[in-house]
Symmetry: C2
Subunit: 464 residues, 2 copies
Amino acid sequence: MKLIILAGGSGTRLFPLSRSCYPKQFLKIAGQKSLLQQTVERFARLVKAEDILIVTNKDYIFHVQADLAEIGAEAAHIITEPVARNTAPAIALAVAYCKDKMECEANECLFVSPADHVINPVEDFQKVVEAAEAICKNSDNIVTLGVNPTKPETGYGYIHAEAEMVGEGFKVESFKEKPDLATAEQYLAQGGYYWNAGMFAFSVQTMEKALKNLASDVYDISSLGYEHALDRFEDMPNISIDYAVAEKTKNIVVVPMGTVNWNDVGSFDAIDEVLQTENGNVISGDVITTDSKNNMILGSNRLVSTIGVDNLIVVDTPDVLLISGKGKSQDVKKVVEKLKAQKRKEISENVTMYRPWGSYTILAEGDGFKVKKITVNPGAKLSLQMHYHRSEHWTVISGTGKLTLDDKVVIFKENESTYIPIAVKHRLQNPGSIPLSIIEVQNGRYLGEDDIVRFDDVYGRSID
Amino acid sequence: MKLIILAGGSGTRLFPLSRSCYPKQFLKIAGQKSLLQQTVERFARLVKAEDILIVTNKDYIFHVQADLAEIGAEAAHIITEPVARNTAPAIALAVAYCKDKMECEANECLFVSPADHVINPVEDFQKVVEAAEAICKNSDNIVTLGVNPTKPETGYGYIHAEAEMVGEGFKVESFKEKPDLATAEQYLAQGGYYWNAGMFAFSVQTMEKALKNLASDVYDISSLGYEHALDRFEDMPNISIDYAVAEKTKNIVVVPMGTVNWNDVGSFDAIDEVLQTENGNVISGDVITTDSKNNMILGSNRLVSTIGVDNLIVVDTPDVLLISGKGKSQDVKKVVEKLKAQKRKEISENVTMYRPWGSYTILAEGDGFKVKKITVNPGAKLSLQMHYHRSEHWTVISGTGKLTLDDKVVIFKENESTYIPIAVKHRLQNPGSIPLSIIEVQNGRYLGEDDIVRFDDVYGRSID
């Protein structure tokens, strides 16, 4: 079996934790590992790292690489969508890659999973995946997993199962749109209805046949093979695998997840469900509560103190504080809309921005100056670059830096500083084996990030 | 008339806005001016700046000087208590100063006011002060102002007036401790009871006589004259003017403040009362509310966003966030107690610390480094100093600096940087006429503020 993880989403339903530069799948909520890392490890017993294919977006590839490296799964394959499309093109491209680059046979089972859900216990989930794999091995059905509903949820689509069984699954009667409450309650009472969790299993040939018959506009491109399909990815329609295939095919089976807990972490209220403990307050970070019950408080780099407040969701970040009543957090989208209308950078940027070579944090900015803490990973280098409107003063606070300035190369160490004049070509490298951290003080009348002339790409490869 | 403003308080009832390094009287709440500045200007029509005497604490003197300079009242006199005592010693010392340094005659009227209350309308208040002045001119009574109670408040002491009038005031029958609710309601229903606002008027001779007869342990020292009284200030008892004199003397009159609004700004709920507006949300700073009513949100340097929350008090500062239910904010003291027990620096320090020469803001600190933005006022200089455990890299972001390093003196300008090695004597000055701002990057294994050897005082005066 090969595992396809869809990790290209850019949602901001968890703003201010998630930003378009740093979406949900990379957040370390519900544990010390990101949701993507948790997803990879969820399948550890079933697939080796080299049998995993992660589909993401060019803006996120170094987040994916960093997450994989942290858990020793660098061997996983990564493909980057040149533009954002929906799940059908992503899956079709992934199938083509599996055939061309991962020597998949026609009858090989592929399992598709989102990268940003919380599922437990893992052992029980793995049994469900094995049941799904068995079905797609022994039949020409597409298999989807169905979550046994625990409440009349109106926020998910439902899958209605027939009585007829295939392996441990049931033939799908139909897919249902998000219902109103009355309908959801009826589904729950009637039984045989499951939440659609966006997980699928199928053999290469089954999906190819389904795409050919049901989504020819996708198939016409994906069947050209991976390289060509990638070149023409933009021409694919923006359509989900549900609409394109699952809801149309007769050959689809749902395997109930039974007692497995599933949460799509689609709002802070959903996170609260995942993290909920006995005492009623869910707390992370530096928090002191007084006479406060049933709050979720996700702290950041400052002390948070509450007095006599109940049922609040507090999410603190260095540049944005969110305070929401419980049950109201889906309205984060209203906040995001307001900020988009105001073209505020908080929507897309974090105070700390990640780059292929490391990261930087803006410590302060004001009239004519900006101060950053820059961290360069061991062995990494920034692009050869130049600025027209700012000069930079660098002081090393840890590690050793190698600076290329015009035609000179200097090594500078902890407690040493250097100066980059305006309009001089320069490159910063970390030649050492520990992270290089410097404090950068920028001086200039214009300090926008776009005042940069790059002489090679963000990986430091020449683009001259 | 001379005005004595008591500005030595160090309360933290408004934590995290107020810290022991920066108490309430210097906060710019309820307006663009600090409570101290508002207090000075409240008396502007009645006394000239040179007829004002501000009693404060050595830790706050440069806050007082800065506040006075901002409103053009530099001519006001300032005396600094060598140690914190209560109001009786402070007033006795002030009386001695008025006699010795401000040529007060025995019959000159002195008016005593706290520095941290909100009172309006000013015009009506000034009429009340004039009525009090008239009484202390024409009689040997001590005069106190009484606030007409608007609710059965249990948080204040009360003054019970007799029917007998003196000028526009009434003889005081007795002072009452903070009452329970039933008693407070009875006071309100019965009438003739006023809140004690801590404001007094008296002639020099009246107060001296009262101290001699009623508080000889205070008088014995204050009667030595200002210089000697200052030297022996520590020997004065820690006692309030209420206990020492007002509650004991027969010669005391209360002048009702009538329609004048008075607020002691003793809690965030009290601030909410002062700032209350029509729409129900009291907001300052960068705040976006959604479906939120009747909140007070005091923002800081980040976006605050609320969704579906009511009746909250939110106070955001760079290092501490407070979220309290309305009516609960007096429990800030519980938070402060917890932090004191944990010996946390947030109680006493701000991220921005004020100094006689300007201020500094800590931008970042971590293992082996600290980054500060330092601003030096025009013409000001730091003490000649040396550090045993840290070196410092300075980059000028605005203005011009003069650096004394060992026996060398260098001028460094915007976009220039310099280096201060460990254990080398140095002094930073701003020789220019605009503020000097530098970014300081400290390197070292120990970066405590106490790693400083000063060769002169905080004003830059030699202490060799």
